[in-house]
């Protein structure tokens, strides 16, 4: 069972990534590409190791920002989905606004946020929240509206109150849907944090990237990119583990 799982889901992507890195390494050595255009993977790794002390400080700052922003963004997402679910009429009025909020380019909004709220934590949290809340709100709302009609009928027939129906039926029913949204938001949240750091900060991968870009340290930019990818995967993994812990009942049917 376990071997099969590894053979099916772990090895294919790992092999693909290894091949890609090998091809990259080979081409940058053989074609003699200048390091300031495209450094080789080995050069990037060497740079990461050499520069680790200062880079790790930036990483820690970004992790804090990501986790805090993700938690706030998720909370806002939940809040919206519960509110819209509870108030059918408001749902009709606000749902289009919810979708519109996703069409505003955060890059364009960022300078405005800076103008309105300064350089503190607030505008950064707003940026991450804007990036994170939507998948959670939409997926939770979807889950809440799909509640099994037979279970709903049962709850009403035995005289459950609206509150009981919500906590004992609708909420647990929506949880797997919520997790689908949480996974998307978790990976987005790192991107959100990077963009938030572009608003101005002392420490953070986003800031680090800007600095290295302007001094043409392409290798360091790649170190930052690799770390962003790693953090995104880590966030995704954390949510997957949480899902496995909270939603045990699906285990038997999978």
């Amino acid at each position: 069972m376990r071997n099969k799982y590894w053979a099916k889901t772990v090895w294919p992507p790992v092999t693909a990534v290894v091949f890609l890195l090998l091809a990259w390494q080979a081409s940058s050595t053989l074609l003699d590409i200048p390091a300031w255009i495209l450094p080789s993977p080995l050069a990037i790794m060497r740079e990461a190791a050499a520069n680790w002390d200062s880079f790790s400080e930036h990483t820690v700052a970004t992790v804090y920002l990501t986790v805090a922003g993700f938690i706030i963004g998720s909370a806002v997402g939940f809040f919206f989905s519960f509110l819209l679910h509870r108030l059918e009429r408001i749902k009709g009025a606000l749902y289009p606004l919810l979708i519109m909020s996703q069409n505003i380019p955060v890059i364009a909004l960022a300078p405005l946020l800076m103008l309105w709220f300064g350089f503190g934590l607030l505008p950064k949290m707003i940026v991450i929240t804007l990036v994170c809340f939507f998948p959670i709100a939409v997926s939770t709302l979807n889950g809440l509206s799909r509640t099994d009609p037979a279970m709903m009928d049962y709850m009403k027939m035995i005289g459950a109150s609206r509150r009981q129906i919500f906590y004992k039926l609708e909420l647990p029913y929506a949880l797997p849907y919520t997790f689908a949204g949480l996974k998307i938001s978790a990976t987005y949240s790192v991107m959100g944090a990077i963009m938030a750091e572009w608003l101005g900060t002392e420490k953070g991968i986003g800031m680090y990237m800007l600095l290295q870009k302007s001094s043409f340290r392409t290798d360091r930019v790649f170190v930052a990119i690799a770390m962003i990818v790693a953090l995104s995967l880590l966030m995704f993994a954390a949510i997957t583990v949480l899902e496995k812990l909270l939603i045990r009942w699906n285990k038997n049917t999978r």
């Binding site: 037979a150 279970m151 049962y154 027939m157 035995i158 004992k168 039926l169 045990r248 038997n252």
Partner: protein, 258 residues
């Protein structure tokens, strides 16, 4: 004189659908005495489920009253225990936590309810499944759990809405025998909807025949067979005669050409 567990007085109901007036129930009168097993048989789609929703307080009748335990409760919820057509067990709850749902909703302490649930699960051969999730059970076993859940409801009256209609014939017969057994040793007041004549005759003290739309009570039958009953009753000549008689009457209710 003892109070009836359930009394429906002159219940009528119609639905409005894009200007079409659909008359569903027409002056339904029926009673379920304390500890009585009462069945309703009628053609499919005759409004039996609407009748249940009225008893459960989800739908208000146009006219008429619902009395439970000697009190008028028309349009009020929480006076009945219920077993739906599909088991409708909650996949995120263990079997025992599913069984205690009705008591939990009624505000009983969970611990007490769980102990009672475990006793009952052991009694009906589901020992060892208390902590399992419903998905591992077969359809018949899920229906047993759903019935125990209804039985453990704090309300005296249990409403069963075609509970075995989704099961295959063999499982269905086994479930009828099982239900008969449990009910005879634990006489609760039951209102049972079915479209199977044999099932109704085997299980019930009293059977109401409903007409096609708008549903009226065609006939009220006091089932004469003594209890405890066994499955063998179904081949008794008198039983077969009753069955044929009811079948003839219901057949006339089907739309012509069938």
């Amino acid at each position: 004189m003892s109070v009836n567990q359930l009394e429906l007085k002159n219940i009528s109901k119609h639905f409005e659908n894009r200007g079409n007036r659909l008359h569903v129930l027409d002056r339904i009168n029926l009673t379920v005495a304390k500890g009585e097993f009462v069945s309703i048989i009628g053609p499919s789609g005759c409004g039996k489920s609407t009748l249940f929703h009225i008893v459960g307080g989800l739908v208000a009748p146009d006219s008429g009253e619902v009395w439970i335990d000697g009190k008028p409760v028309t349009g009020q919820k929480g006076h009945i225990s219920y077993m739906p057509q599909q088991p409708a067990l909650f996949p995120w709850r263990t079997i025992e936590d599913n069984v205690i749902m009705a008591r939990e909703v009624a505000g009983w302490p969970k611990k007490e309810a769980r102990a009672e649930a475990r006793r009952w699960l052991a009694k009906v051969g589901l020992k060892g499944y208390e902590k399992a999730y419903p998905q591992v059970l077969s359809g018949g076993m899920q229906q047993r759990v759903a019935f125990i859940r209804a039985l453990l409801g704090p309300q005296e009256l249990i409403c069963l809405d075609e509970p075995f209609s989704a099961l295959d014939a063999l499982t269905r017969m086994e479930m009828q025998r099982w239900l008969l057994n449990i009910w005879e040793s634990n006489q609760r007041s039951v209102l049972f909807i079915t479209h199977q004549i044999e099932e109704a005759l085997l299980l019930s003290d009293k059977v109401y025949l409903l007409s096609n739309k708008p549903a009226k009570i065609l006939r009220q039958i006091e089932v004469p067979f003594a209890r405890p009953r066994r499955e063998a009753l179904m081949s008794d000549p008198l039983f077969v005669e009753w069955k044929r008689d009811i079948y003839e009457q219901l057949r006339q209710e089907l739309p012509s050409g069938m």
